[in-house]
Symmetry: C2
Subunit: 193 residues, 2 copies
């Protein structure tokens, strides 16, 4: 049987669009760019989706759902505060590598439209919930109570998200090494144990 | 005396251009956008500079020179390895807050032109030199020798550079708090001391 190219569905189109958005920036990318990257006509794209904004909403929704799913996991919500927080940090670091283009775009969203403002608000809500988890770890004596939990959470996610700048799947650095190193830095720092 | 608007020079124009580039992405920003933000005509801009690319080169050059100047400081090159590395990390964190738009653009440069490729190469050279410093701290027993120095350096700078996503000068978080917190996480982690 000859290999056949699977026809585009909205999911695959979102993949292609986010590769383009991550590369050129959402504002800098046009539907023409998306059509070119997908190898189909702009009319064919508009058969699937009403606007560039709708593609943005869909892809950001993926990243946000994946983030919030972490918090719903029992390992993130039950047990010792430090273990929960470690679990969340590891999962966020791993997620950043999994949904790299979506995360790249999410991180850079400026709030220029309702879709962008909603995405920013949900991301801030995620940060707030993780900061609560960090404060529980502080109260339990597992993290230094003098640290500003909101700031630390921002910095941690900044570190996790920075992989979008240099991580290439299939490269020398594995996801496992990156996740372990992030956890190590966040909880123990680089000092010898 | 009436306050008078200082006429544009290339430095101020670079400031305005980088605010625009940081906001819209370099590829997404046009010279029309820069002219609008500067409140002058495009012709007036071309009186100062030949191209958008030339503005990019100038602004990236600023950020890179400021980064390399850190390494030339005696505090970064003499004395105990751990003290040197701490100094470098603190200075990079502070620098990120000082030249926010330039750094935002530098971090996102994709290598689409000679200017971008040169900037990436110099940034990688900077990372390599800091990784050498980290390896010296590992050899001296101040940092865990099992950590991959190049990866750690990337993650540290990822954390420092992530401030471009949320830091607003004059906000609640001071530069001093951010720099202290970055140093704390990098060397000691969040665990109670």
């Amino acid at each position: 049987m000859e290999p056949r190219r699977r026809p585009y569905d909205l999911d695959r189109l979102t993949d292609v669009a986010f590769a383009v958005f991550a590369e050129r920036g959402f504002d800098g990318a046009s539907m023409d760019d998306v059509a070119r990257a997908a190898g189909i006509s702009k009319a064919a794209i508009y058969h699937h989706v009403a606007s560039k904004e709708a593609l943005l909403e869909r892809g950001l929704g993926r990243a946000l759902e994946a983030l919030f799913a972490i918090l719903d996991d029992p390992a993130a919500s039950t047990g010792e505060p430090e273990r929960r927080l470690r679990y969340i940090v590891r999962r966020v670091a791993a997620l950043a590598l999994d949904v790299l283009p979506e995360l790249t775009v999410l991180v850079r969203v400026r709030g220029n439209s309702t879709v962008e403002r909603d995405a920013r608000a949900r991301r801030q809500e995620f940060d707030r919930r993780v900061a609560v988890s960090m404060r529980e770890a502080q109260a339990a004596g597992a993290c230094d109570p003098e640290l500003d939990a909101s700031l630390v959470v921002r910095l941690i996610f900044g570190m996790c998200n920075s992989v979008v700048e240099w991580y290439r799947p299939g490269g020398v650095l594995t996801s496992a090494t990156i996740v372990d190193t992030v956890e190590r830095i966040v909880f123990d720092g680089t000092a010898g144990r």
